[in-house]
């Protein structure tokens, strides 16, 4: 069974902290994605990766960075967390090649920055 896991369901951090959100998939998928979900704004793509050590900016990359050292793991990094980064963060993966393969989402991490 396909599985995407995220390291935390809920996370509370202070302004200025460095935050790591981890995502692991067990499907040998090529592509991985990070989204944030906010009410009324839908799913907004932060970064994606279609290969190990490859990364591409999405629609809202400012304030975020990513790391993909292994195929199964894609990390989202908030270098200096701010209150406007309080959100639900969703990781997804897809088989590839081509980005339009079915995306499998993790359960999300609800991050609160105080």
């Amino acid at each position: 069974d396909v599985k995407v896991t995220q390291s935390s369901r809920y996370l509370v951090k202070r302004t200025g902290e460095k935050v790591f959100l981890e995502c692991v998939q067990d499907m040998d998928h090529e592509n991985m994605f990070w989204y944030r979900q906010d009410p009324g704004l839908g799913l907004r793509l932060i970064y994606f990766s279609y290969d190990v050590k490859m990364k591409e900016k999405g629609d809202i990359p400012e304030g975020y960075s990513v790391s993909r050292e292994k195929k199964e793991r894609f990390s989202l990094i908030l270098e200096s967390a701010s209150t406007n980064q309080t959100s639900m963060y969703l990781c997804a993966s897809s088989l590839g090649p081509g980005i339009s393969y079915e995306q499998y989402f993790g359960p999300g991490t609800r991050l609160t920055v105080t």
Partner: protein, 113 residues
């Protein structure tokens, strides 16, 4: 233009009724149109998808209708049930491209008994 415009933002339907969610797109190169369903506390999951070589695709109570000339597609949920209460996202992409899905902003559906 990459946008996919989805409406309505929220929808309340009586049990047994038909739920209809609409999406419109601008990019005529799009050739893959999936719908994702998200229950509270879960990530979205693929519900049904269509390619523009057909005008309709049906899976159980869920139907996608596609109008290529109008650049619109819609999700119909027949005999809506309380268990269908969820957020629905339409999306679009072109299969030959190496770009991510473009998602609509979502519709929060509540089916009331």
């Amino acid at each position: 233009q990459q946008q996919v415009k989805q409406s309505p933002q929220s929808l309340i339907v009586q049990k047994g009724g038909i739920s209809i969610i609409n999406c419109a797109y601008e990019n005529t190169a799009f050739d893959y149109f999936p719908w994702y369903q998200q229950f509270p506390g879960k990530g979205p999951a693929l519900l049904i998808a269509i390619r523009p070589d057909v005008s309709e695709k049906k899976e159980g109570r869920f139907t996608i209708s596609f109008n290529k000339s109008a650049k619109q597609f819609s999700l119909h949920i027949m005999d809506s049930q309380p268990g269908d209460s969820a957020t629905y996202f339409c999306a679009a992409n072109w299969d030959s491209g190496n770009t991510p899905l473009v998602f609509g902003k979502g519709t929060r559906l509540s089916v009331i008994a």
